[in-house]
Amino acid sequence: MEAHESMPERPMPPIQPIAIAIFVLIVTGGVFTAAHLPRHVPQGPTIGLLSAAVVLLAVNSVLLSRIPNFAWRSFRLVAGWVLAAYVVIAGMLEYVFVYDDTRGTQLVILTLMLLVFAVNVPMLLGFSVARFQEPDA
């Protein structure tokens, strides 16, 4: 095996830990909702969890956009394809919610949770690849 030297890795903002925190919030909201269905689900906790997830997603977007000399081409390639896959997955889940007679505010909360989920996954996977690629010229 031939050995070469490579550049040391650059420090990056904590995008992955924040993305994991977003997953924790969304999954907790999902488990809380599923534990109550098909009865009425108390909306205070789910709205609180969703709001916290939206704030963290916004923070992550800002942190990501401010990385200097980032491999945006790689990020867009990965995030784009993953987004396409997760739009299908989120669409299937939305279909199941509607099919199972979820209506009103509960449907809106679940839809927004799915939206955060479907944006968070591509952002994390795109970042996970792009951070190790050569920055765009």
Partner: protein, 200 residues
């Protein structure tokens, strides 16, 4: 006293001899058939079909996690870097298609099956066990999406480089195998909960 030289800079491999396909295109039709079948099973509330998807998906998911974490992981740890690279370059693309498919099959069919059988109702005698299984699956989902999949896809892109960084690949592969082991161990908790539910 022996002096051990620590690697201060990442060593990288020579160019791989073959092109690594990140998403194995030949596998996509199989995934498509599995997902369409799942949609039909949910839409028709077919008892056998939902049962089939949930059991087959869950068994496959559990076995793969346990096998990766407790059998393949330790074996890979003893391989030479070149052998590990060759093995991972064949394993990881397949995992990228396989794992999301079996997870979707298991969870999608499982939730619909529970709804179909009336197990979601709070009056269901094992409702607490069912909620505990949601929590276990939730933790596994966070580990899989937050750590396992990012490591999987980052390894694949690193392997495609003209001069892949073998130290980085090794580090990411360790994350992948450890997290697979953790989710495998959590699968045992799921098995305990599910068998308790079905045995009454």
């Amino acid at each position: 006293m022996a002096v051990v030289a620590e690697p201060t800079r990442a060593a990288v491999l020579a160019p791989p001899r073959r092109e690594i396909q990140i998403v194995p295109l030949k596998g996509l039709p199989i995934v498509g058939i599995a997902i369409v079948g799942l949609i039909v099973a949910i839409a028709t509330n077919g008892g056998w079909a939902l049962d089939f998807y949930h059991v087959v998906g869950g068994a496959t998911w559990t076995v793969i996690d346990l096998f990766l974490g407790f059998v393949l992981g330790p074996i890979m740890g003893t391989m030479s870097p070149q052998a590990r690279f060759e093995f991972a370059s064949r394993l990881m693309p397949k995992m990228l298609l396989l794992m999301p498919t079996v997870v979707t099959m298991t969870l999608g069919a499982g939730f619909q099956l529970a709804r179909h059988l009336g197990n979601l109702s709070a009056s269901y005698p094992h409702h607490d066990l069912l909620v505990a299984s949601y929590a276990v699956v939730g933790v596994m989902a966070v580990i899989a999406l937050g750590l396992l999949e990012p490591a999987n896809i980052a390894v694949l892109f690193e392997m495609r480089k003209p001069q892949p960084n073998v130290e980085r690949i090794g580090r990411l592969m360790r994350i992948f195998l450890y997290t697979a082991g953790v989710t495998g161990a959590m699968q045992i908790a799921t098995l305990v909960l599910m068998t308790k539910i079905t045995s009454g």
